[in-house]
């Protein structure tokens, strides 16, 4: 069977390829990356020249986290902007009604918008590969890492894309959608820390399972990911070693061992994204949503 490309993806690609925005975007993306690269090289060089017996090439390995974190930040900033203006942009352009009367289900509209945003961002990321590869070829990192890095970028773009889509479905104007999506973003980043903070402030003997909320936090996910790469340990792993079994809950203790946390966290983040997408699809379905002025914001778990 021939796999059919979602028509929205195709159309968005056509439109995007012709607009200057994607070229400027690419330029800006590469420029920021180049800046990060230069700064990193500068710092590494300075470092090496202090102790002249050391080999600069070993240090180039640190290019990777610098470039990767830079990219993660850019992706996290750009994707919600693209998706937040996707559905509300169609509304502003008054093309959305026609789209809804076609055979596309609301969910496939949401999905199409997501995928087209992801392809656009992966296009940027792909363009950064040569620079990234420097850290691998010269720095001697394992290639599988590059693969994992790409996977995390995809995960991140799904997550931030779904937040953007969600806001886009609930707002009439693109600009409010963008603002709202950053608000939700930071709520999701910060909220999972609350239970831990509570436990710490109240001075409980045990954190219990309060750390589990951090599974939904992309910031923690990326922190774990990069900590594993750089130091083969992690903060949460450190927690589970530092605390005895009765200081954290049973599940937390076992999850925090090794890399398990990252995989579970990835699944949780995907689940959250899926929830956002479902809500967006529900909202844009005219036969479900009530008359239109109701605005719902779903907080983080």
């Amino acid at each position: 069977m021939k796999l059919k490309l979602n028509p929205i993806v195709k159309k968005d690609m056509q439109v995007a390829a012709r607009s200057m925005r994607i070229s400027w975007g690419l330029l800006a993306y590469e420029a920021v990356l180049a800046l990060a690269f230069m700064l990193a090289i500068l710092v590494i060089q300075e470092d090496v020249s202090y102790s002249s017996y050391r080999n600069i090439y070993n240090y180039l390995i640190y290019l990777f986290p610098v470039l990767a974190v830079t990219q993660v930040c850019i992706v996290a900033l750009i994707v919600p902007i693209i998706t937040a203006s996707s559905i509300s942009g169609e509304k502003e352009r008054q093309t959305f009604d026609i789209m809804l009367t076609t055979c596309m289900s609301p969910f496939s509209i949401v999905l199409g918008k997501m995928v087209s945003a992801m392809i656009r961002i992966l296009f940027f990321v792909a363009a950064s590969m040569p620079v990234m590869a420097l850290a691998f070829v010269v720095g001697g990192l394992s290639w599988s890492l590059l693969f994992y890095f790409l996977l995390t970028i995809v995960l991140l773009s799904i997550f931030s894309g779904s937040v953007g889509i969600f806001c886009s479905a609930f707002c009439k104007r693109s600009i409010t959608a963008v603002i709202l999506s950053f608000v939700i973003y930071f709520v999701i980043f910060a909220l999972p820390f609350l239970p831990v903070l509570f436990a710490a402030i109240l001075g409980w003997d045990s954190f219990g399972e309060s750390l589990l909320f951090l599974l939904f936090d992309p910031v923690v996910f990326f922190e774990e990911f990069f900590m594993h790469i750089i130091s083969e340990t992690s903060i949460l792993g450190g927690v589970s070693h530092a605390f005895t079994k009765d200081q954290v809950g049973f599940i937390t203790y076992h999850l925090a061992q090794g890399k398990l946390w990252m995989f579970v966290s990835a699944a949780c983040i995907l689940l959250l994204s899926f929830g956002f997408m479902l809500l967006a699809a529900w909202k844009i379905n005219p036969l479900h949503a009530s008359s239109g002025r109701k605005r719902k914001t779903k907080g983080a778990e």
Binding site: Q14, Q94, T95, D97, I98, S105, P286, S291
Partner: protein
């Protein structure tokens, strides 16, 4: 083809459509007329599944609105009153985009696109960007788009708004053409006379209610039964008006410079008698005729001429 039963739509406490019932048989060209805010667009959007009705039923081709959503969507081609197009998309790609949204194969789309563009007279614009087309061309393109998946029911919301007279005629011809091809067409408009030339039946809507509906001939008959008479007088107006007012059954509606508009609800013989009496009493009559059955006056009568 299209059954609407007791359709009601409330916006908060405001009732935009109030217990509207309507039946449009297959192959009809139905005109939907009403002043601004009558609820035409609301009704159409409900039928197209873009708005949820507060109450009532809509059945299209025997299918309820909720059931078999995908199949129902295939039955309808919708041209909204306001619509936009994408920048940076060519006419050909525009059609391709909507065709694939209906799950059509690429080859079918290409073939149909050619036919439809020819039908709406846009063949030479195939490689143009859609946002560079003129308003009328966009409108026709939108009609072509709505026909792409070969719907049985074509719904157009004010297709001639914003078009110049020439383009209006073209649009009208296009719709007549489609009608003769056997499509059921629903078209909304403010302007009755525009519809009267092409529609096979019309419904007049006001304040969310259908005030009159039926075949064009029946509506015309309603007009023919009008009892307004124009009396043109070249003698003094005052005694003439006084005289007319005194006559039994005569209602003087308005007095103009040398014309009196009266309502006289009697047969032809009695009208002759009235004319005779007027002449006898020394009124110089220069004209005496029944009002032309204008749709517009019926429209004003039925809708109270009111915006709300």
């Amino acid at each position: 083809m299209l059954y609407i039963e007791d359709l009601t739509k409330n916006y908060g406490t405001f009732t935009a459509v109030n217990q509207l019932s309507l039946h449009i048989p297959e192959g009809d060209l139905f005109g939907f007329v009403g002043p601004n805010g009558a609820g035409k667009t609301t009704t159409i959007r409900i039928v197209c599944g873009l708005l949820r009705a507060s109450a009532g039923k809509v059945r299209i081709g025997g299918m309820a609105l909720e059931a078999g959503k995908r199949n129902r969507k295939r039955l309808i081609g919708y041209v909204p009153d306001f619509f936009g197009v994408y920048d940076n998309l060519k006419v050909r790609e525009y059609m391709d985009f909507y065709g694939s949204m209906y799950g059509m194969g690429h080859r079918d789309i290409v073939k149909l696109t050619d036919d439809l563009l020819e039908l709406v007279n846009l063949t030479d614009k195939k490689e143009f960007y859609v946002d560079t087309l003129s308003r009328g061309m966009k409108q026709r393109l939108c009609v072509a788009r709505a026909l792409l998946h070969n719907p049985k029911l074509l719904i157009l919301d004010e297709p001639s708004s914003g078009l110049d007279p020439g383009a209006r005629v073209e649009m009208k011809e296009l719709l007549k053409n489609l009608h003769s091809m056997g499509k059921t067409i629903v078209i909304s408009s403010h302007i009755l006379s525009e519809l009267s030339e092409m529609c096979s039946s019309i419904g007049i809507m006001n304040r969310g209610q259908l005030v009159a509906a039926g075949r064009m001939e029946d509506i015309m008959q309603m007009l023919a039964g009008g009892n307004r008479i124009h009396v043109c007088i070249s003698s003094d107006m005052e005694p003439a008006v006084r005289f007319l007012k005194e006559q039994a059954g005569v209602m003087v509606d308005s007095v103009r410079e040398n014309e009196v508009l009266i309502s006289y609800d009697r047969g032809d013989e009695e009208i002759c008698v009235l004319i005779g009496r007027m002449i006898q009493s020394g009124i110089v009559l220069t004209g005496f005729h029944r009002e032309e059955g204008s749709l517009e006056s019926l429209f004003m009568q039925l809708t109270g001429g009111g915006d709300r």
